[in-house]
């Protein structure tokens, strides 16, 4: 049958045509590759990070580039899944032959793609991976080329627990999305609470993408905690808050890890977002060098205000390029040496890593929505206002 042969030929042609190497690396711009969660569960946050990268490249190019070359980003969409991310980093490194890579969004995806970047000995500054276990690994599984920018997951809710303990609150309930980062943040909060003499009366996870929290929240209402700590991303944080109102679950304090600090959080929830604490790595109002200028340039460029994911992405890119500049080369081992010793302060705050590339200098802050404004309420030396405490009934907000 002629047709059968044809089918087989088409198949062979498809496989080969698809995988023929693209043109070899041309001299010209320094190309930096990344896969980001532009669609899928993490899309909202991944897009903020993408804008941070874009602004960083633009500013460097406006100042004449790096090592005499322009900086250009090659970005793909990993659909918020680790498997796609792995394939895309492999593509960036072996086919697009980018000069450097920077990190993707989220801990699970970073955990997966770090295996690829390590294999090719590529330095990867990972601005949005906050899970300790990605960096702190047993001696035989050490990674050498990844660098953390933000504070680790375990301290996200430190501010909430600290404020609660100071106000003499005794019980805390903790919920978390059952994924790498959120779980680490939740267990970090539980440890801190126990250390401060508080009692963890409820702790449970829910699967990624969960929409209905009524069963979980009913159980929490029965446990009647003083404090509710939720280790979330964005969509789940909004859903939990809405359903708390529906079920009239009203702890004295309610804090969120990721999502509570986004402007969209207030846009969606309006006055229901009032009094809610959000953990954040960064705020536009913090007195870091160049921070105000960054926030202004960002708002001008993208027509919306930056969030910490934007700033972290921006800072990750700035730090990497700074290290390249100091090293005077793109050579991975020399850039690595520089990064390990680098102590610097960007618009995002302090940067300094230990021998595992683990961030030790950066500080977290805690915000609260007060009258439609996001205000820093913790730590005391950076606070702009006193926390409004306790939360009033839902219908009085």
């Amino acid at each position: 049958m002629r047709l059968r042969g044809l089918v087989a030929l088409v198949w062979a042609a498809a496989v080969f045509g698809a995988s023929l190497p693209v043109d070899a690396q041309a001299p010209g711009p320094i190309r930096i590759g990344a896969s980001l969660s532009l669609t899928g569960t993490y899309a909202k946050l991944g897009n903020y990070q993408h804008e941070g990268y874009k602004l960083c490249a633009k500013q460097v190019n406006d100042k004449g580039g790096l090592l005499g070359r322009k900086v250009e980003f090659v970005v793909y969409d990993d659909q918020s899944t680790p498997a796609t991310g792995v394939r895309l980093y492999e593509k960036l490194i072996t086919e697009d032959k980018v000069d450097a890579v920077v990190g993707p969004y989220s801990s699970p995806i970073t955990e997966a793609v770090a295996n690829v970047t390590e294999k090719y000995k590529k330095v990867m500054v990972t601005p949005l991976a906050a899970t300790t276990s990605i960096f702190k690994r047993p001696p035989d599984k050490k990674r050498h080329y990844i660098f953390m920018v933000i504070s680790p997951a375990e301290v996200y809710l430190e501010g909430l627990i600290d404020m609660a303990a100071k106000r003499g609150l005794k019980t805390v309930a903790i919920v978390n999305e059952d994924t790498l980062f959120s779980k680490a943040a939740a267990s970090g909060a539980a440890d801190l609470a126990k250390k401060k003499g508080m009692q963890v009366v409820f702790q449970e996870g829910y699967p990624k993408g969960n929409q209905d929290f009524s069963a979980l929240l009913t159980k929490i209402r029965a446990a009647n905690p003083d404090v509710l700590a939720a280790s979330t991303y964005f969509d789940d944080a909004v859903a939990i808050t809405r359903q708390m109102k529906e079920l009239n679950l009203n702890p004295k304090m309610y804090g969120i890890t990721v999502g509570g600090d986004l402007p969209e959080f207030y846009d969606l929830l309006k006055q229901n977002a009032e009094y809610i604490y959000g953990a954040t790595q960064w705020e536009a109002t913090l007195p870091y060098p160049g921070n105000k200028e960054f926030a202004e340039a960002y708002t001008k460029e993208f027509g919306r205000e930056p969030v910490y994911h934007s700033a972290a992405g921006y800072a990750g890119c700035v730090i990497y390029l700074d290290a390249v500049k100091r090293a005077g080369t793109l050579d991975a081992d020399r850039v690595r040496e520089v990064l390990l010793r680098l102590e610097t302060k960007t618009a995002f705050g302090d940067f300094n890593v230990d021998q595992d590339g683990f961030q030790v200098a950066h500080k977290m802050v805690m915000t609260q929505w007060q009258g439609g404004k996001k205000v820093i309420v913790w730590p005391d030396d950076l606070a702009q206002a006193k926390p409004r405490f306790p939360m009033p009934a839902w219908n009085q907000r």
């Binding site: 049958m1 496989v15 698809a18 680790p82 294999k119 994924t179 996870g205 699967p207």
Partner: protein
């Protein structure tokens, strides 16, 4: 003509076997993914294409194999080839447990049970944290074995395709297709339908189990949501429907065409690709329910063993 076909097939296989020697890391990994999808779609075709019993949770076997393999590698220290075989066995055992009762029922119960099975498994691996790492996932020791895994996955894809050919040309296959066309008539002819369906189901579980374990080893990190996604089952189904269900080469054609278009065309339109995927599902179901090969078979009177 058969000779021309075998010749072309031989050339394609030889080229694929040599590919890792000159392909890029990404090319090898993408082709490895195509092999995986051929194995998955081909396996789904064995139960659902041949007997008509639609499995809506076939990714459960993929995930079960992935976790079985990953646990053996990470916690017990097995080598990955042995762990992959056990991944296949684990999937078969699971298929036996769920298939024995469910395949006795007629109608949509089997489809729903499979959908549930996938969710149950995901919840179970999230729950048994000590063994599976729960939602934090399971990291495997770093090992660069992409090229050996490429070959093993390639052999697996070929084996599933060959198995489909052998079944379709056998009395066993005829019995399965009789069940698909009219189960009551099949019983009246003296076919032990429950047993035949179960055999087909066991055969269809092994491939995804092995593929899951291989993928886990290759990626080095798995988490419940990444190995039990419903979307993966849907993709398998669409690949088979597109290529032609109940055929030998339909799943292969569907896997290659859909994966390649996803990777090289749709990836450039991140916000559109899900829409496009949905549109393809609708178009296939409405316009060519028998798939590309099904249409060709009807039009050109091709043998059913294509």
């Amino acid at each position: 003509m058969t000779r021309a076909f075998l010749g072309a097939l031989g050339v394609a296989l030889a080229a694929l076997a040599l590919y890792p020697f000159f392909g890029t890391g990404y090319g090898v990994r993408a082709t490895l993914q195509i092999f995986m999808w051929i194995a998955l779609a081909g396996s789904w075709n064995l139960i659902s294409g041949l007997t008509g019993y639609v499995s809506f949770g076939h990714v459960a076997f993929f995930g079960a194999g992935a976790y079985a393999g990953a646990i053996l590698v990470a916690k017990v220290g097995w080598s990955w080839p042995a762990a992959s075989l056990v991944g296949g066995v684990a999937a078969c055992v699971l298929a036996l447990v769920i298939g024995y009762p469910c395949l006795r029922l007629k109608g949509p119960y089997f489809a729903i049970a499979m959908l549930g099975l996938n969710e149950v498994l995901r919840a179970l691996v999230s729950y048994f944290e000590g063994l599976t790492g729960g939602g934090s996932g399971l990291s495997l020791p770093t090992l660069d074995a992409t090229i050996p895994i490429y070959y093993v996955m390639g052999v697996l894809a070929a084996a599933v395709t060959l198995l489909t050919y052998l079944i379709i040309t056998s009395r066993f296959g005829l019995r399965l297709m009789t069940i698909r066309e009219d189960e009551v008539a099949a019983e009246a002819l003296g076919i032990d339908t429950a047993r035949h369906k179960l055999y087909a189901f066991l055969l269809s579980a092994a491939g995804p189990g092995i593929a899951g374990a291989l993928t886990a080893r290759d990626q080095g990190y798995i988490e419940p949501i990444s190995v039990f996604p419903l979307a993966m089952t849907i993709t398998m189904i669409v690949m088979v429907l597109f290529g032609g269900k109940g055929t030998v080469w339909g799943p292969v054609l569907g896997a290659v065409v859909l994966f390649v278009s996803q990777e090289f065309v749709w990836a450039r339109f991140p916000y559109l690709h899900q829409l496009l995927f949905g549109a393809i599902i609708v178009a296939v179901v409405l316009l060519m329910p028998r798939g590309v090969l099904g249409i060709l078979q009807m039009k050109y009177r091709l043998p059913r063993t294509i």
